[in-house]
Amino acid sequence: MKNRKTGTGGNPLWKFLSSVRLAIFLLIILAVTSIVGTIIPQGETMQFYLNNYGPGMFKAIKLLRLDDTYHSWWYLTLLGMFSLNLIVCTLNRLPFTLKLFKRDYIDVTADYLLRASLCHKWTLKAPEASEKAAQIVDIFRQKAGSIREKRLDDGGTVYMAESGKWSYWGLYGLHLSILIIFAGAVYGSMAGFKGRIMLLEGETTDHAVASSDVTQKIPLGFLLRCDRFVVDFYDTGAPKLFRSDLAVIDNGREVLKKSIEVNDPLTYKGITFYQSSYQSIPEVTLRITDSGGGQRNLVIPAFQRVSWPEAGLTMGLMKFLPNVHGVPAARIWIGESNGRADALWLFRGSSKTIDAGGKTYKVELQDAAEKYMTGLQVKKDPGVWVVWLGCTGLIIGFAMVFWVAHRRMWLYVRPGGKDGVTVILAGLSNKNKMKFENEFDEIKNALDSVTGEGK
């Protein structure tokens, strides 16, 4: 953009903030500094950086927050400067664009037309000059599309076909859209949250755990239940499907049921649940028979200790292998509630004996199964629509900037004078000049065939 005089054009700060030079400087700085965060792993512990980069680099990393580059004070400052640059630049250009937009391009003079980048002049001699002129105007009418006409002070008449004048606003749409995207991102990060939920099949929860801080609980305002989790694999072993059957319970009523998959989340009251991971949790059933003939079936889920109080026994699951030579196997610890414990490997269907409290017990692995726990990403982002709006504006604005040209085609006809009738054809387009030139030539050739010039 050339230096255009505007009301505030004299202020050096304003001039600096509105310059495209600054925009270029910022774009280059942003491009270069953004590389840092792709080389240094982000979001690790301070200990990690100290160990991997040594004390000198560690200081720099800590000071410049290179563990979280894209949210560091200096990166956000750069983005802020960039936004400011964009705002000031836009405001600065506005009067100029308004002038371009408001100007009526039919107010021209013959001299102006002769200076246009595309123009051709004919002089029609009597006797048939006026018939030819009428013919020329007809041809222009047919070829150039809808036209307006105006009489000029010099006695000539100008006919104009114009299109795409509004395309000047495309650039504003484009640049403002970038600000809208920023605004949406800021709003979303302030008014929303990100969290995680791990849910066993059959389990219900009323909260998520914050991604940024695992000790912080985020209440959902309703209940979420996982009825089932399904995982499926291709014959190559690659995963094919992760699916959770979820139910939403609000005010004691089940209001919504949906099976979610990766790429197909569930949204309720502005909170969206995404399928993100899973764990399989084993659960084994033991049949324990004491030497006196007493017998009991005990279900032992992972991570829990289970007791048989009457016998004074406590046990738990240490390790589970779903498939050892075709049968599941488990390593169990079992012992007196306040004494020594044994660890034993059991296959399904096999049994072992232990001594505890003066009695002998036969321990049999009766059944083993896996239960799934689904991992959900939870998000509330009221700003996402603003971001999508900005993205749409960006693309539409861009398409306008790229494809829509402000095109003007003039035909000027001035009768009389000793030299005969003067005819000028002129054209101006602010982009797609090659295509426009072809169209101009086509009209020019059509007119040539009337005036007798050319081929």
């Binding site: 270029i24 491009a31 953004s34 991102a185 992760f242 990766v262 790429n263 399928q275 693309i395 861009f398």
Partner: protein, 282 residues
């Protein structure tokens, strides 16, 4: 399976190699007929490649996986070559400047050769893992690669611009067969604008997809960040025209730097850095 998609695509590699050689000969010896032959060979290569891609698509259905051939490094390289040739042929058709072919078709040839012959690139048809099962993925890949291919052609033009040099405007011989600096500058700019539009759409469709799959439209993962860096470079090139003293040579340089950034976004991130988009390394 002699008439398989990989057979057709291997043949395509050699057709593009021949086309690049013909364009080069056409440039050096300036024989109009050879230029015409180069155009025909390139178009034939495009037809053969289109058939190959279509066949691969059909084969994926026969294998029971059924997805558009845009899901791994091999398929994306093939698609990159396809779009590059397409974009180039459109430019040739619009401008009639065949010399550009000597600088554009080698990119397609290299991509195809790398896809077909490198041991790093797995050309088996693989099933889609859950994260990739999305129509947004198809939109994302197509738009990104439209951008990448345009940038490849713009990079070729940038190289031409620098070879031609600012001073040698009236030189005879090889250099004078290149389009004038003004024409090159204009074409380069238009190609960059076109690529920039598609890169923007590519980044946006990627964001929509990520938002649908993981709930974050932007997570600053290295591949995303590199695509943004590329975007910044080309935004610089677009605006440089409006600052005096930044025309021509510097934009040609930016066009080359931009394409290096594209290459890094495409390969470097997969091979040197780690992140979400690791499908490239398989």
């Amino acid at each position: 399976m002699t008439f398989s998609s990989s057979y057709l695509l291997s043949i395509t590699t050699f057709i593009y190699l021949a086309a690049a050689a013909l364009y080069l000969i056409h440039w050096v010896f300036r024989v109009e007929k050879i230029g015409l032959a180069a155009s025909f060979v390139t178009a034939a290569g495009l037809v053969c490649q289109t058939a190959g891609i279509g066949l691969r698509w059909a084969e994926s259905y026969q294998m029971g996986y059924g997805h558009a051939p845009l899901s791994n490094l091999y398929e994306s390289l093939v698609f990159f070559a396809w779009v590059t040739v397409l974009v180039y042929l459109i430019i040739e058709w619009k401008t009639g400047k065949r010399v550009i072919g000597a600088f554009a078709t080698p990119f397609a040839t290299l991509a195809m050769a790398y896809a077909s012959f490198s041991p790093d690139v797995q050309d088996k048809i693989q099933p889609l893992i859950p994260a990739l099962q999305s129509n947004w993925l198809i939109a994302h890949v197509i738009t990104c690669f439209l951008g990448y291919a345009s940038f490849a052609v713009a990079c070729g033009m940038g190289i031409m611009y620098l070879i031609r040099g600012e001073e040698s405007e009236s030189n005879s011989g090889l250099l004078s067969a290149l389009p004038s600096l003004k024409v090159l500058d204009d074409l380069m700019h238009q190609t960059i604008v076109f690529g920039f539009l598609w890169l923007s759409v590519g980044i946006i469709t990627g964001a929509v997809w990520a938002n649908q799959a993981w709930g974050t439209y932007w997570s600053w993962d290295p591949k995303e960040t590199w695509s943004l860096i590329t975007w910044f470079v080309y935004a610089t090139a677009l605006h440089a025209r409006f600052v005096r003293g930044w025309q021509g040579k510097r934009i040609a340089l930016l066009s080359i730097i931009g394409f290096v950034s594209v290459i890094f976004t495409y390969f470097g991130v997969n091979f040197l850095l780690s992140g979400l988009h690791s499908y490239g390394s398989s």
